[in-house]
Subunit: 246 residues, 2 copies
């Protein structure tokens, strides 16, 4: 009998070419499929809720698969998988879902965090999970600007080309900027995200911090639907997929 | 004219065989000597305040060297060095010291932190800087036990063999245990440390947390001067040299 499973997975994306399987590069999906197929002794294909880019990290990625005749008790599955997975991938939870459960389309809320190391010199311990950006940033202006992103908007100005969408309207429930010592964290929480949307919002907020864009201009940039008016796409290694809710 | 310099250096020790130069292994000292010799265009030998073991990290290592005719302004030295050092080593400060300044013997206070990831499953982001230890720990007992280490004691029971000392008496100004979510941090601050002393104190406090040693027994173990009565030497990658004061 086939059973559907939904895993909660954390990974340090540094050594992977992103989530999605590729022909000539090693990805998190491939690492997980190889481990699961070996552990459960059957060919297993997994579906991720978010196709994180190369270098992007995850604390709460959700990963679906179905398998036949699994004898391992549900609560032991994380332990069994963690014993075999590479040390930069860890399963934190396993639950049973219907066989047709799609972790991507069923998600109703995703949270990403983008972290910036704003210290004068680069902290070696943060180099793989933050964007080292030693220039002066007006964090209060960034906070003010962040609020303009909240709500339902057409985010066409905040996506990279490469993916077609029926609609570029998305809703952000939260967009906030916090600072602890020299680390600045941008949190975006929404119903869904366009390709590179979280990183372009982060790059735009950094431009606000550099006084290249005024906080109140965010509204005009959103309305323009013009990608060239937003800031740069912040580098991938500062981004972490924190949580997905169903 | 020769000038003496004292650097404050942070490093992720994961990819190094410790601080001290070795014949057949790459160390932080070698990486720094190679970079400094190249940048200042003269052979440079450095002296570290603490000979951290393989895998041990540093936020505030102190490193001394002398060099002739340095034209770079003092406040630009960190920037110039960081541009050439490997990305897992960073210089945070440079100051001028007398030519005979010995960073090891002149230190009057060193602070180390030992971190434990006590979560059920290993957090991939903490795997290189914490000891993943998923067993139940009585943190209150660890806190009580830590206090017994404070003050001046003969720490002969808390050192590994391999180094001769005139005296094994050391003074700890602080020994404390804190917890934030599932991460437990042991802080030890003292006038000097014996070989592996910080890691053996950490391993002993973990034994207290596992109820293998009672907090009040710490006094007897210290008095015994018997290494076999203390706990294990906790693995190196959980240890960070945080600060050195002169």
């Amino acid at each position: 009998m086939k059973t559907g499973f939904l895993l909660t997975v954390a990974y340090d994306g540094t050594n992977y070419s992103g989530w999605q399987r590729q022909k000539n590069a090693y990805t998190v999906q491939q690492a997980m499929e190889e481990t699961l197929s070996k552990v459960f002794n059957q060919p297993i294909v997994v579906t991720g809720a978010s196709r994180t880019d190369a270098g992007v990290h995850a604390l709460g990625q959700r990963v679906c698969f179905s398998a036949e005749n699994i004898s391992v008790p549900l609560n032991k599955i994380p332990l069994v998988l963690n014993n075999c997975l590479p040390e930069d991938i860890a399963v934190f939870n396993a639950e049973i879902v219907p066989l047709d459960f799609n972790p991507r389309y069923r998600a109703r809320e995703k949270t990403y965090q983008y972290r910036i190391d704003n210290d004068t010199f680069p902290n070696p311990f943060l180099r793989k999970t933050t964007w080292y950006y030693p220039f002066i940033l007006d964090v209060d202006a960034m906070k003010t600007a962040a609020a303009y992103f909240m709500g339902e908007h057409d985010f066409a100005a905040f996506r990279s080309t490469g993916t077609d969408y029926n609609s570029t309207v998305r809703e952000l429930f939260e967009c906030s900027v916090t600072q602890e010592k020299k680390t600045i964290t941008i949190t975006v929480r929404g119903n869904a995200f366009l390709y590179n949307m979280a990183r372009i919002i982060a790059g735009t907020l950094v431009y606000v911090g550099r006084l290249k864009i005024k906080p109140a201009d965010i509204t005009c940039i959103i309305a323009s639907k013009d990608r060239t008016r937003a800031g740069i796409t912040a580098p991938p290694h500062g981004l972490t997929l924190v949580e997905i809710k169903y």
